[in-house]
């Protein structure tokens, strides 16, 4: 253990020049930008005594907000799976005109300021919006309720699914499909057993990324969510609300719970991915 550590620091048998310099830079970088804020976040709630955290744990509004955040993010990521897979399929296999443009558009939700997408979606799905008005006539309310949150999160999460599935699909040899057809598989069997099945690990990763983004998303959601406590208020918004009330320990307590639950969710996604990708370990 000790020998391994000292060899790690000294650069072992690495042939790369500047090993120590890059190691120091990496440690400094991760330390300052990732570890330090995380430590601060973990310590801050306890500064005003254990009471603040205990108080927060009794706050049903917070649990409602957490539930809204996590359930909406999970639903949105789930809906994004078939959508993202179809889009990736069209980008990889479809020789459609304008696929270059479509390829560029897929990344747009990542680049667009989240407030802009939030306002756009809110206008579109609002009671007078292009989509909101006809939907309202059918009795479906999207804006200022939970479906609105899910739609906003789907919008920002889609690129993650598309971009994780796309390279895997691209590397899937086409003769797998031919082989399956020659073995007597019918078209839907080819799609489910030979095309989608190998994509499962990538789909899980895409789901995980979209979900993580969804839990943390703020800007695009608050404009369309309506933000009613206990109903359509997301956890990140509650953090902001607490900050505006100068309740710093309350805000950081929610943040800490958010952090822990996110970590747990991502760990579960990681476990699921590992379970489904045993076949990838080559000799």
């Amino acid at each position: 253990m000790q020998r391994a550590f000292s060899s790690f620091v000294r650069g072992g048998n690495s042939a790369l020049p500047g090993y120590k310099l890059s190691l120091a830079a990496t440690l400094l970088w991760t330390g300052f930008f990732i570890i330090l804020p995380l430590i601060a976040l973990t310590l801050r709630p306890w500064q005003d005594g254990i009471g603040a955290v205990v108080n927060e744990l009794h706050d049903t509004r917070m649990f409602a907000a957490l539930w809204t955040s996590f359930s909406s993010a999970a639903l949105a990521a789930l809906f994004n799976i078939p959508l993202g897979m179809l889009l990736a399929w069209a980008l990889v296999r479809g020789n459609l005109p304008g696929s270059g443009l479509a390829n560029a558009l897929v990344d747009l939700p990542l680049a667009l300021p989240t407030a802009v997408s939030g306002i756009t979606l809110a206008t579109l799905y609002g009671p007078q919006g292009w989509l909101g008005a006809p939907l309202a006539k059918l009795g479906i309310v999207v804006a200022y309720s939970k479906p609105g949150i899910v739609i906003a999160l789907m919008f920002v999460g889609l690129p993650f699914v598309v971009r994780t599935v796309e390279p895997v699909l691209k590397n899937l040899p086409r003769d797998l499909e031919e082989a399956a057809a020659l073995l007597g598989a019918r078209p839907w069997q080819i799609i489910t057993r030979v095309v989608i099945a190998p994509l499962v690990p990538a789909l899980i990763t895409g789901f995980g990324l979209a979900f993580a983004r969804g839990v943390g998303e703020y800007g695009s959601v608050i404009f369309i969510a309506g933000n009613q406590p206990f109903h359509s208020e997301i956890a990140p918004l509650l953090v902001v609300v607490r900050l505006q009330e100068f309740d710093y320990s309350g805000a950081t307590a929610i943040a800490l719970i958010l952090l822990l639950t996110s970590l747990l969710a991502l760990a579960l996604v990681g476990l699921a991915r590992r379970k489904f990708s045993v076949w990838g370990d080559g000799a």
Binding site: P173, A179, A181, L183, G184, R186, R193, V200, W279, A283
Partner: protein, 357 residues
């Protein structure tokens, strides 16, 4: 199961270049045919057309005399092995092999136990008895090859199509797997069509070799006939190392363009004009330069070692060095003169790539 291809035509998509120009081929039940030819000759195209993977412009395919059109007509009759195996990476070896059995409609599907028994039977046949639970990524090239074969054979097809199946294997594995394939073919009574560009492979496993060039079948014969009377310059070169001498046909006499090579008489009734003489290194004789041949400027001949029962020599012509070989009979081997003239009277003559004599 016999395979009959009648006047198959296929045009490259998006252009009018013909990949197959009215190809007809008849493979009776139990035959092992090798499809050979230079790259781009249409071998793989023909194989894929038989498998129904590509759509053809016209032509028919008969299996056991029955016309075959759709993929469903072919299912369970044709087994296909892809060049890079095309194993399903996310399925175990056993699941890969039983895929063709698993996708059958409920009514005609074997029971779970029967399928498992069939998979084990195939694993034993492929000499991979304990590999059922492994994933393809863990297998060596030769093992993947055999799994691909087992998968193709699982539903008991009568026809086996192989697209350059040994391309990615090392030479020793190739040799063992192909003799094993031949015995498998005989044991299961298959009709096999193999695409290859390895002459040794084709000669060793096939009863019959079909040579393709530019979308046409140029020669279809048993290996020994192909060796004795190649119909095109390609076949001549495919069957083994061949050396070409350019020359002219003049009054029933082949006159080489190069110095140091003896002219030789050719059977009559052939038009005079430029012609190529092709000969194998072991058919070339070297005659010590006597008085009569002095004017032919004798070439120097250097020994170049012995391999596979042959002694090899290098003969230096004006512009190139060619290899000449003679059977090695130990101490009694023929000793070539250190300088001499080449006797190529056993050469075959080709005009524009086609055999004339």
């Amino acid at each position: 199961m016999s395979v009959t291809v009648q006047k198959l035509v296929r045009t490259a998509p998006g252009s009018d270049r013909q990949l197959l120009k009215s190809v007809s081929l008849d493979v009776p039940t139990g035959h092992f045919v090798a499809l050979v030819g230079p790259s781009g000759a249409g071998k793989t195209t023909l194989l894929r057309a038989i498998a129904g993977l590509d759509v053809c412009d016209s032509g028919t395919l008969l299996l056991d005399g029955q016309k075959v059109e759709t993929m469903q007509d072919r299912a369970r009759k044709i087994g296909f092995v892809f060049q890079n195996y095309a194993l399903f990476p996310h399925m175990t070896v056993a699941r890969n092999i039983s895929f063709g059995l698993d996708v059958q409609p409920r009514g005609s599907r074997l029971s779970r136990q029967d399928r498992a028994a069939r998979v084990q039977e195939l694993l034993d046949l492929m000499q991979l008895p304990d590999m059922g639970a492994a994933y393809p990524a863990r297998l060596s090239g030769g093992q993947r090859q055999r799994v691909a074969l087992a998968r193709a054979l699982a539903s008991g097809p009568g026809v086996l199509l192989l697209d350059e199946p040994f391309g990615a294997l090392d030479p020793i594995v190739r040799r063992t797997i192909r003799s094993w394939l031949r015995s498998l073919h005989d044991r299961l009574g298959l009709t096999t069509i193999l695409v290859t560009h390895d002459q040794e492979e084709a000669l060793e496993v096939a009863d019959r070799i079909v040579v393709m060039q530019q979308g046409l079948i140029v020669q279809d014969a048993a290996p020994d006939i192909l060796d004795q009377s190649p119909e095109t310059a390609f076949v001549m070169e495919f069957m083994g190392e061949a050396i070409t001498f350019r020359g002219t046909l003049n009054n029933g006499q082949f006159v080489p363009d190069e110095g140091g090579v003896l002219p030789f008489p050719v059977a009559a009734h052939l038009e005079s004009g430029p012609i190529d003489a092709m000969i194998r290194p072991f058919e070339i004789g070297i005659v010590s330069a006597g008085n009569a041949e002095k004017m032919l400027s004798p070439v120097s001949v250097v020994s170049h070692g012995a391999r596979n029962g042959y002694r090899h020599y290098l003969a230096r012509l004006t512009d190139r060095t060619i290899s000449v070989s003679a059977p090695d009979w130990g101490n009694d081997s023929i000793n070539f003169a250190e300088a001499g003239v080449l006797d190529i009277s056993r050469a075959r003559l080709f005009k524009n790539g086609l055999r004339v004599v």
